[in-house]
């Protein structure tokens, strides 16, 4: 084996290590992504209902004029973390009486229907974004992502990744309190 070749594994490991060190920066939260949408009006969109589901579709108009801020959750049946997140969102709807809208991202309608039938459907409205076109408007980086939208249609908060686990839930709850959707202490 050549002397130089023997250094290749070390070099590769060093480069990987550099990435890891960068990734560990305490200011970097893999789930917290700055969004240009914050404090901006939610994008214009009009999504039809998921085929075969009773729940109505979702458009920009539905985000405006609600009694309080609403949660918009982007989900898909093929996304495993969404499954874990589903229970948390359901609790927020059932216990805290929050309004939850869904955007079903790049998902076959029949799969989405099955998924919701299996896990329950906490969503008041679900728009089907088959092509992923609206996902671009919302600046999605992956699924799941969850937004809090004020009653005037302004995007107040964005959470990337599943709202699962104590840290994530408390961050999200704090954002709900800030948005005025929850009274402090309501969710323990």
């Amino acid at each position: 084996m050549g002397r130089l070749l023997a250094f290749v594994p070390l070099a590769v490991a060093a480069i990987l290590g550099g990435f890891f060190l960068w990734g560990l920066n305490p200011d970097r939260d893999p789930n917290n992504i700055p969004s240009v949408l914050i404090s901006q009006p939610a994008p214009e969109f009009d999504l039809a209902a998921v085929d075969g589901l009773e729940t109505p579709g979702l458009s920009r108009a539905d985000l405006v004029g609600n009694p309080g801020p609403v949660i918009v959750n982007v989900f898909a049946s093929w996304c495993v973390p969404c499954r874990a997140e589903h229970g948390v969102l359901t609790q927020m709807v059932e216990k805290d009486g929050l309004t939850l809208f869904g955007i079903n991202y790049k998902d076959k309608p029949e799969d989405a229907t099955k998924w919701l039938a299996e896990l329950g459907n906490p969503y008041e409205r679900i728009g089907s974004d088959l092509s992923g076109r609206e996902g671009i408007e919302w600046g999605l980086s992956g699924v799941p992502e969850t937004f809090i939208v004020g009653s005037d249609g302004t995007v107040l908060f964005r959470y990337v990744g599943p709202v699962v686990g104590d840290a994530a839930i408390s961050t999200f709850t704090e954002a709900l309190v800030q948005a005025g959707a929850l009274i402090r202490g309501q969710n323990g």
Binding site: L16, G17, L119, N121
Partner: protein, 666 residues
């Protein structure tokens, strides 16, 4: 009091590990036999003290000692005993303690069973193993003490995640860790050999049983985890390319490569630096897995609580161990003289192809797993996720040629194989594989071309493996008792290889069948509703309330008939755990070799008049899925057969003698 004893035992283990990291290796350099021999007792001592700490934590869990923070956070007095015990390794701190315990188990095992290994190599190996111990013990004592107390103690605990309350899962981490951590000793052997500057056939022979043992545990651990996701979580799948699944799969792929390249080093004294590199990389990938799971670097459903301080500590540990060993490799490897020469068509070349493909596959999984991080760093904060489509599109095309090569490899002889002769023997196998695939194609209704191609390769591997075994024992060529005698005389490692290779073919049948020919129905049902799926008639007979030890459940009753004949009843449940405030789906499964009929139940999605009083029923039929677990069991059994081989047990009496044997065998 017991938690303090546990804590103190960990400190004592650290003290011993510190001594062991220095004394034996210096002794080996100076030829001081006493110093070298000290490794034996300090290895036993480390195992003893970490074992005490582990038992102390387990005792706190069993007696529900809620003054211990870890118990409060992960247990509950209502939990069944088995899961109290399993709670010991259910948290970050507890699983780290298990990690360290297994590390010391392997150190003690080498000290106990390694009587055939030269004293200096053994001393150096155990010193290296102690370096790893020091790293993990300080990590635990400084950042993740499992014995932290809490004051005032709460009345009851927060309970372990109910999803984790399953027998399969209780067993999954210990097995997985035996595999993960088992590779540590192989790593220590490799580093010791680099320090000593000598790698030869004898070294490979000492290392192979340890590799095999770790590999078997890892195989069993991964299979059990996948079985758990499939049966317990009701995810309707057995592999999701989740980052945490990937980090357990990468050491497996590398370990498989190592297992095969060590054979070449043992038999032909070749691939030396490559085998050493694989040994280092396999354990490095295990460490990487620990880092990813515990640092919050990537998002995953499996991840432990995130803590940047811990992440930084493990990264430091990684930098020292991986960086150090690879630097040592870069310095020492070029001085190793290359071993036996071989032709492009030979057993060595076949194993080289195996190694290159497995290394490529590992690279693909590593790249796919870390790509979101690279992307984020390169674009300054933009994020994306990599899903199953990437892995399926890149991993499968690498694995299919590997399966083809696997069928052929065992026919090739060392140094130089007769290609024409091999092809002659395999002609029959190829025809059989094509015929079998055509039969399936005729019986099954449609399916993708890739599915049939994979199926054909699985048949190819299966028949080629069987034919090779039949050839060795001259089945049907000589009278049957003579074949039996030959089978008896065949080395066990040879039977082991046949079993493991055939096991992979079996598992492939399961992968393919349950992916390509799966059927699924989701319907609203009322008592009396009938559903037809894959030839079964399933009748929903109603649902009732049921109670368990720490949950209550809605239990559905389903009657399954086939062609008018009663088959079985299924009782899928939806369980609510009041303490943990979670609901889980318990699927009911009728499992047969042909496939699994799998039912799960949920409340209707929306309560309107149309769905009032009805239930959502999900029924799946997954053909051949049990072949996955049968195949995995065969892989593990094959490994244990090979491990029980007399030649490995006894090992090489001395370096010189092995070389002579190797020479005379040619």
């Amino acid at each position: 009091m017991t938690p303090e004893i546990g804590h103190f035992a960990l400190a004592l283990a650290l003290a011993l590990a510190l001594v062991q990291s220095v004394l034996p290796i210096i002794g080996a350099g100076r030829g001081n036999i006493l110093w070298m021999q000290s490794a034996r007792w300090s290895s036993f001592g480390q195992f003893f003290f970490v074992g005490i700490a582990f038992l102390a934590l387990m005792q706190a869990f069993i007696t529900s000692d809620f003054t211990v923070k870890n118990v409060v956070e992960n247990s509950n007095s209502l939990k069944p005993l088995l899961f109290k015990v399993a709670g010991t390794w259910g948290s970050h701190e507890g699983s780290l303690l298990l990690w360290t315990l297994i590390l010391t188990v392997f150190g003690a095992a080498v000290a106990l069973f390694g009587s055939n290994i030269p004293l200096s190599l053994k001393a150096r190996t155990l010193s290296v193993q102690a370096w790893i111990s020091v790293g993990f013990l300080t990590f635990m004592l400084l950042t993740s003490n499992p014995f932290d107390r809490v004051f005032p103690p709460p009345g009851d605990g927060q309970d372990l995640n109910p999803l984790l309350q399953d027998v399969g899962l209780a067993m999954h981490p210990p097995l997985l860790y035996f595999g993960y951590v088992g590779f540590s000793i192989v790593f220590s052997f490799a580093v010791a050999a680099l320090i000593e500057g000598r790698v030869d056939a004898a070294w490979a022979r000492w290392v192979r049983p340890w590799t095999l043992a770790a590999w078997m545990s890892l195989t069993a651990g991964i299979a059990l985890g996948s079985w758990w996701a499939y049966y317990e979580l009701g995810w309707g799948g057995w592999w999701f390319w989740d980052p945490v699944e990937n980090v357990s799969f990468m050491p497996w792929l590398m370990g498989t490569a190592l297992l095969h390249s060590a054979i070449v080093t043992e038999k032909r004294d070749a691939f030396k630096s490559w085998t050493i590199l694989l040994a280092i990389l396999t354990f490095s990938l295990s460490l990487l897995g620990t880092f990813i799971v515990r640092s919050g670097l990537l998002t995953s459903v499996h991840a432990f609580a995130v803590d940047p301080e811990r992440g930084l500590y493990i990264l430091g540990l990684l930098a020292v161990s991986i960086g150090g060993s690879l630097a040592l490799f870069a310095w020492r490897a070029p001085t190793m003289e290359p071993g036996g020469l071989f032709k492009p068509i030979s057993r060595e070349a076949g194993l080289l192809v195996n190694n290159l493909l497995l290394a490529t596959a590992t690279g693909i999984v590593l790249f796919g797993t870390l790509y979101p991080l690279f992307y984020e760093a390169a674009t300054g904060g933009e994020k994306l996720s990599v899903g199953p489509p990437f892995f399926n599109a890149s991993f499968i095309p690498v694995m299919l040629p590997l399966v083809f090569a696997m069928g052929m490899g065992p026919y090739l002889s060392w140094k130089r194989a007769d290609l024409a002769g091999v092809l002659q023997r395999l002609r029959f196998v190829a025809v059989l594989a094509v015929l079998a695939t055509l039969v399936i194609w005729y019986l099954a209704e449609g399916g993708p071309v890739l599915g049939y191609l994979s199926l054909m390769l699985a048949f190819w591997l299966f028949f080629a493996t069987l034919r090779e075994w039949a050839m060795r024992i001259k089945l049907f060529e000589v009278p049957f008792p003579e074949s039996l005698r030959r089978a008896h005389n065949l080395p066990r490692s040879s039977h082991g290889m046949t079993l493991a290779h055939a096991g992979l073919a079996m598992a492939m049948f399961g992968f393919i069948g349950s992916t390509v020919w799966k059927s699924e129905e989701i319907v609203f049902v009322r008592p009396g509703t009938e559903i037809n799926i894959a030839g079964f008639d399933v009748t929903f007979e109603g649902a009732e309330r049921a109670r368990g030890p720490n949950y209550f459940a809605d239990r559905g009753k389903l009657r399954v008939d086939r062609g008018g004949m009663y088959v079985t009843d299924l009782f899928p449940e939806r369980r609510t755990y009041p303490v943990a405030q979670t609901t889980t789906t318990e699927s009911a499964i009728r499992s047969t070799l042909a496939g699994d009929l799998y039912a799960s139940i949920a409340n209707p999605a929306a309560e309107d008049e149309r769905t009032q009083g009805s239930w959502t029923l999900r029924i799946l039929y997954e053909p051949l899925v049990n072949f996955i677990w049968i195949g995995s069991a065969m892989l593990v059994l094959g490994g244990s057969l090979s491990l029980s081989d007399r030649r490995l047990r006894i090992g090489a009496p001395s370096r010189k003698a092995t070389t002579l044997v190797a020479l005379s065998a040619e």
